[in-house]
């Protein structure tokens, strides 16, 4: 089961850019691609904690601003030789409003 909460509208995020959702269990980076798809990843690079929301968005991926690891939005996995994986979260657009699924975050508390 998913728990969707509204976090804003698509227009709040620049094309090929990102904004941050602050939560009590860490920040989530919400990205918007050139095709107006939205994706969400933890906003902390598994390498050394770089804020992925500040990276360059290209195709379906983002490049970490600190040491250039490239993370795929679909899987959260680093491309190429790197092996880190960052947690992904579901986001959807309903009537222009952005909905984020916080099930994964909620589960963190339980663990």
């Amino acid at each position: 089961m998913k728990t969707w909460i509204e976090i804003g509208s698509l227009d709040d995020i620049p094309v090929r850019g990102a904004r941050v959702v602050k939560t009590s269990r860490g920040c989530i980076a919400v990205f918007r691609t050139a095709e107006d798809e939205v994706h969400a990843l933890d906003d902390a690079c598994p390498h050394k904690g770089g804020p992925l929301s500040e990276g360059i968005v290209h195709g379906g991926a983002v490049t970490c601003p600190l040491h250039n690891r490239v993370f795929d939005f679909a899987t959260g996995a680093a491309k190429g030789a790197d092996s880190e994986v960052v947690a992904t979260h579901s986001v959807k657009i309903v009537d222009g409003r952005l909905m984020l699924d916080i099930t994964g975050l909620a589960a963190r508390n339980v663990a």
């Binding site: 090929r16 959702v21 939560t23 904690g49 360059i56 195709g59 916080i102 975050l105 909620a106």
Partner: protein
Amino acid sequence: MTQNLVVIGAGMASGRALEELFKAAPGAFRVTLFNSEPRGNYNRIMLSPVLSGEKSYEEIVTHDDAWYAEHGVETRFGEPVERIDRARKVVVTAKGETPYDKLVIATGSSPFIIPMPGHDLPGVIAYRDLDDTNKMIEAAASPGAKAVVIGGGLLGLEAAAGLRLRGMDVSVVHLAGHLMERQLDEAAGYLLRKALTERGIKIHCAASSKEIYGQGKVEGLRLEDGTEIPADLIVMAVGIRPNTAVGKAAGLAVGRGIQIDDQCVTSDPDILSVGECVEHNGAVFGLVAPIFDMAKVLAKTLLGEMDAYAPVEVATKLKVTGCDLFSAGDFAEGEGREDIVFRDPGRGVYKRLVLKDDRLLGAVMYGDTADGSWFFGLIKDGTDISEMRETLIFGPAFQGGQPLDPMAAVAALPDEAEICGCNGVSKGGIITAINAGAHDIGAIRGTCKASASCGTCTGLVEQVLGLTLGDDFVVPQAQPVCGCTDLSHEEVRRLIKARELKSQPAVWQELGWKSKDGCHVCRPAINYYLLADWPLEYQDDPQSRFVNERNHANIQKDGTYSVMPRMWGGMTTPEELIAIAEAAKRFNAVVKVTGGQRIDLLGIRKEDLPLIWKDLNDAGMVSGHAYTKGLRTVKTCVGSDWCRFGTQDSTGLGIKLEKRLWGSWTPHKVKLAVSGCPRNCAEATCKDVGVICVDSGYQIGVAGAAGMDVKETERLVDVATEEEAIEWSTAFIQLYRENAKYLDRPYKWVAKVGLDWVKEVLSDEAERKALNDRFDISQSVYQTDPWAALVTEEERKSWSAPLATVNLEAAE
């Protein structure tokens, strides 16, 4: 006594002949070289890449002033020879007479202009030299301009493709039934036509031109069938005629060309001739390969050595990027001839071999021409191919059943196989050069000349290098920008200018990017190139910038930022220091004095950035751009204001320079310094631009480095006044902005283009002024304080505040 050698025409033929002569016997002749064109020798066959914008004129110059000076050649460029007085052994020009002991006529050929009505209207040109090329480039610059090229042969199609790349609406009118009918059969002609049509070039074959119409200038071309094609420019590329005028007037034996014997001597024993102006055994010439052979013979004859010119087969390639075709030998149909044809329409590949009596007579290839030289070798040598007939069409890689290996084709070539058609260099010749020490492409070009002319064989030469040197040779490639493209930074920069690409999507589409919207490597580079080349038209894209430039602050390893206000020339005031101190306290910053004569506030959270900026702005300070590929600091020393050795106001000049240059984006960061005397307390001799003040004025050094490499500056110029120092420094930086590869500091860029070139450009006062003007235009957009721009309430919110804040405990 040294003899006087006079040469008429500084083209490709005489250029090669002089090289051969100076190599064999430096100083044997005192040479005077006349040329109608107001310039020396350049690689004429590369005019097409210049036209298309893929090369610049500077890149195709084969002999520069230094070369002529080194060999004592007296150059008389822009001075055509009017006649030869053979009785008195002098040549006559508008400026007087020049005596000769030996004379070489190398006047090339003239383009043929069809004398149809209207052929003399302004806007009708031929395609022969740099001036024609520049006229075409100029015509293509006006928006919506249309061109008609008459003639669908090699030259006409190269002109059409180049004009099209420059954005013109181009039609080709060709008399024969298919394009390049002298070199291609109908099938290959069709594929070529299709490829050109796909690029937006309109092709009319079997079309005969009737007249050019227009009032006072070209307005269009009318065909025999009544069709009218509107045009602002008409290029006639219908053929060439040997340029025999001076020889004929002097009474030399002239047929179609100036007649020469096997030693290149004309009917006058003291007059030799070479190149497209000659006729040898009834044949005339239009490609450089046989002309270069002739040039070698001519040099020998001049030195009294025996050699004889012997005609060879020639192969043809079209220099239109993306249209690969090759043709050699005789491919007409005929009695007893057989064809082997291979087609792969999916890949657009067509190959046809014409055989007779187990020998290869001709080859035509389109789309995949890698095996061209191998087939060409079989044709020239008359090799018996009966053994490999079955697999012949698949090329050398397939003979003997080896797997297809890109190196195999070259490995399979015999030593005699010709690799460089233009210069007639065989595989064996290249190997000899390699064994004699030429271990890269530049050295090969310099010694045995392979790949030095049209360059289409460069890949093959590199493979020979690879095979001969083994692992010691890494095939060098103009490094592509990134995985999204095969183009190098330099090529992308040139194409952005030449094709007037003014947005990132235009670059991705027109230059065939392999990714959808680039990547973190190319996007910042392209964003920079576009804003540097089109400051008024292009809009800077923050999403193509590294985090620091997007957030106007340096990100730290813990995700906080550093904030550094400008301190012009390293000067500050008590009021500024108090404001900095208060801001530091309010936002809990760590304070550090930097190596750049200013103060850094470290550990600021992103949401606080607009707030601390506002505090600093309110105290009259602006961003120090300590995070940009742009102007950083101008360090100064106390100078003549205080120091007992100071010769000039170094602090004042530093402040002026910083105020002029701040805010500008550059390929990499730029740092300056001004020292008040040669004791150099501001460390100006290791900066990108460093000024040392002396009694007589200012010494401007450039291209220093003190980061990962350490390098002293090199002297650009000495000037007397502050104004000149600022003008020169700005011009240097603008030249760097317009030409360098992204992430090359000035010292790296200067190492590539040469300080001599930089000096040459900048010593032209008009050019210096133009560079300053273009810099001003860019500054009219970019000299703004990014901090002030972002401190309005609304922007601050959308920029630094979270999109949403979620309390999970409450949500559960």
